[in-house]
Assembly symmetry: C2
Homo-oligomer: 133 residues x 2
Amino acid sequence: MKELDDNMRLTSQRQVIIEELEKVKSHPTANEIYDMVRKRLPRIGLGTVYRNLELLAGKGIIKKLEVGGEQKRFDGDTSPHYHIRCVECGRVEDIFIERPKGLEKSAASCCSYKILDHHVQFSGICSHCLPDA
Amino acid sequence: MKELDDNMRLTSQRQVIIEELEKVKSHPTANEIYDMVRKRLPRIGLGTVYRNLELLAGKGIIKKLEVGGEQKRFDGDTSPHYHIRCVECGRVEDIFIERPKGLEKSAASCCSYKILDHHVQFSGICSHCLPDA
DNA sequence: CTCAGTGCAAACGATTTGCAGGGCC
DNA sequence: GGCCCTGCAAATCGTTTGCACTGAG
């Protein structure tokens, strides 16, 4: 696990949030994380969960996903990978494929931005929702 | 402009929203669109703007962007293209590059989803914000 | 004339924040 | 002992919705 720095304290709340997040592959929302964590720390507040998710994401210890939908989602796996989102049920899963070569380079050559990163967001229908429709 | 269908009426509110959205390249938020439209229809309500943006996006006449950040943004240009978002000021601009070949295919081969679409979201620092930092 | 659409205001859901107390270093 | 962090509750922000009225067809 990456290091917390400075005068940042490793509280039990922080520890449990990180552990629970690394335990699942489901990209939970803040509220879902709150529920998971509350089983081990019943007195934790929702505000604390939000504060720590934001803070840990800032340190790169977890990743905040900007995948659309109503709520933000969080990922304990910080390795580079893409995501797919089921348009029916909102479920988000990982897509591990090679990053297209030269993608950021060709983007850079057509705009004046300093490019920092990119993310590919697929949308589709998951196997669970497919039988319907 | 694409057709409204069924018993959907072409009200002045709808007309003005579409016109204003096609006029700009800035991917405005609902509130910004509200401001733009209000200059021509001072009595329009914010609820009407939201209702129509949602409805027009459903018809494919405009596009709702899921680009992260706090608010949803809308794009009058429905042709396929990507976006870049400035992490400093939140500005969103278009990226017109070729869609990587086989991207959706390789995603399909590593998950059980029926893939419908994909979007590439770049993040970076725009020329306006670059001098700083 | 009818019914989809509107303005308005209240409701809502996700997230943030102020504050007083608690506990790590 | 100082200061970071917490729990709690209230506040905020974006968005949605109920309702009575309006205007397009």
